[in-house]
């Protein structure tokens, strides 16, 4: 029942953007005539762009590889091997986006003794761009998290926790827009309900809001207001549940305008990203790479100029941007 007014709103917006486009095109052709060039030629020069995203989740303070005594995981993981891979990958690809879906903290004595300082320092060294907060990132309380923030040279995003009555207000942003490889990527975060999961004294006055409602609002803003080429959600909701608890699967199918959901919390090793169809019949990818830094997920995107039936001629305008560069 919620979808109907939403769709109507979209139609109005499309019509509005059509009018804008018509004006733009007209202006464009006038300007173009002055340059005495052919629009067809310009179209042909629009080149696809490429961007790679690397991601992790639920590191749980596994700084060293698992001990060799461990028959299943002995020798696997470890920050030094991960950093080496990331740095080589970046050398090969140039600008990339490096993300984490939360629960960086808790699980080895490194967290009990140093409170997450080393985890944040290592992620800064690896060049992480953005992370979201998992439930265990609150295990030393809001003050504990706040204390480690100076060690983090990356952004923290969450859009469905209201931090306004806490010391985290302004330190965790709802979203962040990145410019990489000539593309605009909007990244926002979603967190799990903390009540019953994290002791109240640790999460204090953080107020939880419905992730679906929040995601629809933020993703739409990122796509249309901020004109992002890709909208990424860093989610610590969990991949999916046997009951109807909100999860990445629910999020993917009940929202619009998210392109990629990078998940965590359930420690799910997805063999490859799972594709879902969202409420406007577009594809959404969901991925999660287990836990403990045992794997790094890698998604290599190829982009083309934004085209749909209402939008086609605008692709010619891209070349002017390139001329500007």
């Amino acid at each position: 029942m919620m979808e109907k007014p939403y769709k109507r709103l979209k139609m109005e917006e499309l019509q509005k953007s059509d009018r804008k486009k018509f004006i733009k095109q007209t202006l464009y052709l006038v300007g173009f005539g002055a340059l005495a060039n052919s629009p067809v030629k310009v179209l042909a020069r629009a080149e696809p762009k490429k961007l790679s995203i690397l991601h992790t989740n639920d590191w749980h303070s596994r700084i060293e590889p698992f001990p060799l005594l461990d028959k299943k995981l002995g020798g696997k993981g470890g920050a030094a091997a991960r950093a080496a891979f990331i740095k080589n990958f970046r050398k090969e690809k140039g600008e990339i986006l490096l993300l984490d879906a939360g629960d960086i903290f808790q699980g080895t004595p490194y967290f009990n003794f140093f409170g997450g300082e080393l985890e944040y320092k290592l992620m800064s060294e690896m060049g992480y761009d953005c992370v979201t907060l998992g439930n265990h990132d609150f295990d030393a309380g809001i003050d504990g998290l706040l204390k480690q923030m100076p060690h983090a040279r990356f952004d923290m995003v969450n859009a469905n926790y209201d931090f306004s009555k806490t010391a985290l207000q302004g330190k965790v942003k709802p979203f962040q827009v990145y410019k990489k490889q000539g593309l605009k990527i909007g990244v926002f975060g979603l967190g799990i309900a903390l009540a019953g999961l994290v002791p109240e004294k640790l999460f204090g006055n953080i107020i939880y809001h419905d992730p679906i409602v929040v995601a629809n609002k933020i993703a739409e803003d990122l796509k249309f207001k901020h004109r992002c080429d890709l909208v990424v959600c860093l989610s610590h909701l969990g991949y999916k549940y046997a009951n109807n608890k909100v999860s990445d699967e629910v999020l993917a199918t009940k929202t619009a305008h998210i392109d990629l959901i990078i998940g965590g919390h359930t420690h799910t090793f997805l063999p490859e990203p799972v594709s879902y169809t969202n409420v406007i019949n577009k594809k959404v990818c969901v991925n999660q790479v287990g836990w403990a830094g045992l794997q790094v997920g890698c998604i290599n995107y190829t982009f083309e100029p934004f085209v749909n039936t209402a939008n086609e001629p605008s692709s010619a305008l891209i070349e002017l941007t390139n001329l500007d560069n």
Binding site: A81, G107, E125, L197, V296, V307
Partner: protein, 241 residues
């Protein structure tokens, strides 16, 4: 005029044409030559501070201890050792219940158990507590244990049928809804965590002033000193229909 047009055109968006993906396995032993030196340099001073205390052996496991449903040798060990710890503190709990989610490693492997092992098994700063509940509240708690497919317990026997606890035996007697019982557990569950809301209405609470892991470390140390090692014990305390 033309500059204005260029500004307009900057707003043009791209869309995903296609993508490919892979998950890269990270392992140090397979590729010892590709370890990032800057990261190793960052880790070293922290690691050196930890290794001295963390690598101390406090116990030996004679077999792999495994976290399992409805009962596992790892959960049984933790509960049995905690019951012994409580008794040495002069307290006599009737039963012990922890949530499975509190045990953070799936297997404690045969061989040396170090302080690090126990930190990784029980990383949370939860206190060991004892709460006094009536039989009806205990039944509610054990129904929660059953609904979760079985949690680590000690001091009782029960069967899981239709996600409920049936045939519950405590101290050789059938569970009496009107009797009072002391439950050894964590402050996390006692505060109602993991849906254990029934424990919030407990009539009394005793706090040992030991974190779970500190209690376990102390007790394992003293057992090892007395020549004990850990066996993988499964005695059918929780069975499933």
């Amino acid at each position: 005029m033309f500059l204005g047009l260029i500004t307009l055109s900057c707003q043009t968006q791209y869309q995903v044409k296609n993508h490919n993906s892979q998950s890269i396995a990270i392992a140090a032993t397979d590729t010892p030559q590709v370890l990032d030196q800057a990261v190793i340099k960052l880790i070293t001073p922290f690691k050196e501070q930890l290794d001295g205390q963390m690598n101390a052996r406090i116990m030996v496991a004679s077999a792999d201890l495994v976290k399992e449903n409805p009962e596992g040798s790892l959960g049984n060990m933790v509960c049995d050792v905690m019951m012994r710890f409580a008794k040495l503190q002069g307290k006599v709990p009737d039963v012990c219940v922890f949530n499975a989610g509190g045990l953070r490693i799936p297997t404690v492997y045969k061989g040396d158990i170090t302080i690090r092992t126990i930190f990784e098994l029980l990383p949370f700063d939860n206190q060991l507590v004892m709460v006094k509940v009536n039989g009806a509240q205990l039944k509610d708690l054990l129904d929660l244990v059953a609904a979760n497919g079985g949690w680590p317990v000690a001091g009782l026997q029960m069967k899981i049928a239709q996600k409920q606890a049936v045939n519950v035996i405590v101290n050789q007697n059938i569970l009496d809804e009107k009797a009072q019982y002391w439950v050894l557990t964590s402050d996390y569950l006692a505060d109602g965590g993991d849906n254990a809301a029934m424990l919030k209405t407990a009539s009394e609470r005793y706090t040992f002033n030991y974190l779970l892991r500190d209690a376990l470390i102390m007790q394992l140390k003293s057992m090892f000193y007395d020549g004990e090692t850990l066996q993988a014990l499964k005695d059918g305390r929780i069975t499933k229909e």
